[in-house]
């Protein structure tokens, strides 16, 4: 136990001695540097006219000009880039806007065309329906008229059949009928109706 205490005390003593030595060395260095800086400042104040002569100034001016030109070039480049970017964005914006407007216009046109097409289709459908109806009506009416006309003609033909056949016979063999050949028929008919003829002749006013 005592040894350990002894070792620890000795260690503290050694560490304190070392720190003291280091601090002493350090303080001596700082004092040296401070003295050197003061020397330089004094020398600079002495040689300020010597350092900033015309050549140095011209050099500085040239450097400044170059730096200014560089800055100008960079700014111009940035401005150009910005301008290009802006133009590009503007183009994009215009393109988008015009496309949008055109799309809207086309959509409107399509709607209008679709509506017109729908109206036209409805109109055509209605017209077709009306035409079909009229055609149906006309067909039935025509059929009825044809049927009526047919019935009328058949009826008239039946009623006038005797005249038709008589006309046909007259036209066909009218010139070949000899009156003398009819005498027997005529006398036969007279004989058959003799009684009626006699009655009318005797009793007639």
């Amino acid at each position: 136990m005592t040894i350990w205490w002894l070792i620890l005390i000795l260690s503290f003593i050694l560490a304190g001695g070392s720190a003291f030595i280091y601090m002493a060395i350090r303080l001596s260095k700082v004092a040296t540097q401070k003295k050197t800086l003061e020397d330089f400042e004094g020398q600079a104040e002495k040689d300020v006219e010597h350092i900033f002569n015309d050549e140095f100034r011209e050099e500085l001016r040239n450097r400044g000009r170059l730096h200014f030109e560089k800055i100008l070039g960079e700014n111009a480049m940035f401005l150009q880039q910005d301008l290009r970017l802006t133009t590009s964005q503007l183009n994009e914006y215009m393109k988008d806007q015009i496309s949008k407007d055109l799309k809207n216009a086309f959509a409107n046109y399509e709607n209008a065309i679709s509506d017109a097409k729908q109206l036209a289709v409805e109109s055509i459908t209605k017209t077709k329906e009306v035409i079909d109806e009229q055609r149906s009506t006309m067909t039935s009416q025509l059929e009825k008229e044809v049927s009526d006309e047919k019935a009328r003609r058949v009826k008239r033909l039946e009623e006038n059949m005797a005249d038709v056949v008589n006309h046909y016979v007259l036209a066909a063999i009218g010139n070949q009928i000899d009156l003398n050949d009819q005498l027997e028929y005529i006398l036969g008919e007279l004989e058959a109706n003799k009684k009626e003829i006699l009655e009318d002749v005797n009793n007639g006013a």
């Binding site: 005249d163 008589n166 009218g174 009156l179 005498l183 008919e189 109706n193 006699l198």
Partner: protein, 173 residues
């Protein structure tokens, strides 16, 4: 006895109307001829009294009328009787109108007149008409009635048979 004073033997009997005298037209023609004959004879007597005048040529109808009834046209009373007969006949005889399809021959007309006078009335007068549309047969009209003996009427009477025949052919009627 003068011929003018002779009474015809057939004066009282019924006179015959020749078949050649078909109808009223012939009757009137005979009357005009008799009148002309009367005038001629009167004129001849005035010019040459006592002399026999040459009789003008008479028509076949007048010859038949006088000949069939035994009359002498030179005798005034005969002419007078004939004229009276013609006028009475024109006024009283029944006129029968017959329409035919064609103009008949004289023989055809004579046969028709003969039948009419034999079966209907001895003085029946025939008036002929032409109607080509009847084709064949005739249409007879008396005073109150009409008798259609034409082919057209026969077709009408047999219309059902005609329709049946045609319907059998077409299947529609």
């Amino acid at each position: 006895m003068a011929p003018e004073q002779q009474q015809p033997a057939a004066a009282a009997k019924r006179l015959e109307l020749p078949t050649l005298v078909f109808g009223p037209i012939e009757l009137r023609r005979l009357q005009r001829e008799l009148e002309a004959l009367e005038e001629y004879i009167s004129a001849a007597n005035i010019r040459n009294p006592g002399k026999q005048a040459e009789l003008p040529k008479t028509s076949r109808l007048l010859d038949a009328l006088a000949g069939n009834n035994g009359y002498n046209l030179l005798m005034p009373n005969h002419r007078e009787l004939l004229m009276k007969f013609l006028k009475d006949t024109e006024a009283k005889a029944p006129v029968i109108h017959i329409s035919l399809a064609a103009d008949p021959s004289s023989a055809f007309t004579a046969k028709l007149v003969a039948w009419l006078r034999q079966n209907i009335h001895p003085y029946a007068l025939l008036q002929l008409g032409l109607q080509p549309s009847i084709a064949a047969g005739c249409i007879l009209r008396t005073k109150n009635k009409a008798f259609d003996f034409s082919l057209r009427n026969r077709f009408k009477e047999q219309r059902s048979l005609l329709l049946k025949s045609i319907g059998g052919g077409t299947g529609k009627l």
